[in-house]
Symmetry: C2
Subunit: 416 residues, 2 copies
């Protein structure tokens, strides 16, 4: 195998009967006999060196180490960023195949120069770097504590939080409850496609997030693509967002509500009511009871799972029930039992869209009698987060609080 | 309180400051001091007799006991129906507030005369009458056994099965696997709004189901409203359907696939490929392992839940993971353990739309190593049903079968 190509170059790999084009990667030490190629689709292919006739260089890699001028421009509004991980804050090194976190304004500037045309990023906080599936309520609390500092800093006009997509809607719910009525925007954003790919959604999401962060929308919102086109974003209420696609750019949808705004690179079009920017001092309320569970009911499921959580001394459970909020009538007795023992049982719908109503059928009425709190049109994920937060406050009346609309999680605007 | 109105009449109930209009209901024996009124919205109101000044009759109820002529019309195709319960097969008696099942052709004719203009219903089977949340795998087996008889009856051109909406998509999946390659259409249908209400969706759903049942689409499908308008339906593949709204007529959506057809009262417009009507003899394969579970992962969730199912001797578990198919890396060791003990662990996405891919990130690759079978774009509910069916066959290679597209549950047509 002969070649003058080096890692990072665009090459053709010639095999016996087929030619692959892609970027040559550095082979890891453990795989010395293997040549790795990153295809245009973003996937990597591995070849045995002995099968390769030739690696032909098409275009040499040029490594630009742009000199950064990250001066504060006096005309531009100042914002702060909180980086927590996820695809949006990871750059992929085409030479090594490794992933590097973007955790300083300089590094962010290299990938997202357009963002800096709109705003000055005067602070970047990195409480941790995690994939969102590794997060837990303690991480939500950490983000809230970092946010507190920035929200009460009068030099900061708004906050952008970058986050892995997968469980972002849990974090946005947690911040909605923890931070309370806000004084300025808290904007969570993400990317579905790696930022080193031409098709990345990160750039538009960040630019729209910047507009949201300097807007008057003093709410926790998720800002991301409104469609699979790369033209505008929605600002989705933090308690009404759900990831509904594994890979599309418009993974997040507003459920049982409307977005706050439609945002393009240049404009914000307001859609629904929100809390206005103000001078309130922010004091997060981050109490949280971690002994709570989320259970999705399925046909034939035994109610014994409730015993399991009861024995483990869980304090509350959210059940994803049927459409209007039913489970098998075989569950009623057990639910009554655990409610009597002090566990809180909440009912939401696994249909995602619409609302539960226990009063329509007799099974629902019996479940209400047994103690189930029906959470109207609240999303299961939001209900889970809210339940932990409410139970965390020992003196609160749990049922009353769960049914009080605290952060837009219960919505009566879209009644049919 | 004076009145000449009787239950069933349209009345005005005059209170001190307000007048309610609705249909007077018969008060149950237990509530003699109460007057019950069914409002136009379908909701019931109860009044204390002593608060009522007058009940004014607006229109007398006319009880039509239409003489039925249910002769077979020689020109029309013959179909069979299987009634299993749900709103669509329940008529509401406005006089008593009670609900009566429609379990004979005569009773069905009274409510759905248009259905009988299209087809002869030569058989009605009623294996049981249940709300769908009460069903379990044994009920799916019962429906399959009843279907077998009708599918192998050359006088029957197709089958309509009426069913409660809530867990209909589990049943449609089960029948898709149990019945195998079909010889004629098996159409499941439902209604979201009670048939005695002007806004009921049952009539259109049944008429479209009749067209589907006499069509060439020899598949298990769910036929129901395509939008909230009352104009046409979709025939949705049985393994690719999910209830995604609690109350709208178009509660069921096709996920990661296309409908077989768009159907109005008069026409069928074919949309995607299907198995053609034929003369195959049908022999259902209804083996099913009931010791399977469906678990939705949430942030911070302890892997101990896997021990619980392992100790209870469960044979398989479907985990609703993150977008591409991740759980916390704290779960990996435990998953490896239970897989070694012989439990089957499958991964699907809680995003509903899109597909899992364990190969993109290292957590996914470790989960694959630990033994997780990634089920591509399969719906969680379909995966649950398929897993029970596959494990039910002791001699099958579970992984191979789970990844084999048997009834349209794995779809490669819609790759992005």
């Amino acid at each position: 195998m002969k070649t003058n190509a080096k890692p990072g170059d665009l090459v053709e790999v010639h095999l016996d009967r087929i030619i692959y084009e892609g970027v040559l990667l550095e082979s890891p030490d453990s795989e010395k006999g293997i040549v790795l190629l990153k295809l245009g689709t973003g996937y990597n292919l591995g070849f045995n060196k002995k099968d390769i006739l030739e690696i032909k260089k098409i275009q040499e890699v040029r490594i630009k180490e742009k000199k950064l001028e990250l001066k504060k421009a006096p005309g531009k509004p100042n914002i702060a960023m909180i980086i927590t991980g996820g695809t949006i804050a990871s750059s992929y090194d085409s030479r090594t195949g490794g992933v590097h976190p973007l955790t300083t304004p300089e590094k962010l500037f290299r990938f997202y120069p357009e963002l800096f045309e709109k705003v000055n990023i005067i602070k970047v906080e990195v409480p941790f770097m995690k994939f969102s599936e590794e997060m837990n309520p303690k991480d939500w609390q950490k983000i809230a504590r970092v946010s507190e500092k920035l929200l009460n800093d009068s030099n900061v006009k708004g906050i952008i939080i970058t986050h892995g997509t997968d469980f972002l809607h849990y974090t946005s719910s947690a911040l909605s409850f923890f931070l309370g009525k806000l004084n300025k925007p808290v904007v969570l954003t993400y990317s579905q496609k790696s930022i080193d790919r031409a098709s990345s959604d990160a750039n538009l999401n960040l630019q729209c997030s910047a507009l949201a962060a300097i807007s008057d929308i003093a709410e926790v919102s998720i800002v991301g693509h409104a469609s699979d086109e790369d033209n505008y974003c929605y600002a989705i209420p933090g308690t009404k967002a759900r990831k509904l696609h594994t890979s599309r750019r418009d993974a997040f949808k507003t459920v049982n509500d409307e977005p706050y705004a439609k945002i393009s690179e240049e404009t914000i079009e307001l859609i629904s009511k929100y809390n206005l920017r103000n001078n309130r001092k922010i004091k997060p309320d981050i109490k949280f009871e971690e002994k709570i569970a989320l259970v999705k009911f399925y046909p034939g499921q035994k109610p014994d799972i409730l015993d399991y959580y009861s024995k483990q001394k869980y304090k509350g459970i959210v059940i994803e029930m049927s459409g209007l909020g039913h489970v098998s009538s075989k569950w009623i007795k057990k639910i009554k039992e655990i409610c009597k023992k002090g566990m809180v049982v909440c009912g939401v719908s696994q249909c995602i869209n619409g609302r539960v109503d226990g009063k329509v059928y007799s099974t629902g009425r019996k479940l209400i009698e047994a103690g189930v709190i029906y959470l109207e049109d609240m999303l299961a994920e939001t209900a889970f987060v809210k339940l932990g937060w409410v139970i965390g406050h020992r003196k609160w009346n749990v049922k009353e609080k769960m049914l009080e609309n605290i952060a837009g999680e219960l919505n009566n605007r879209l009644e049919e």
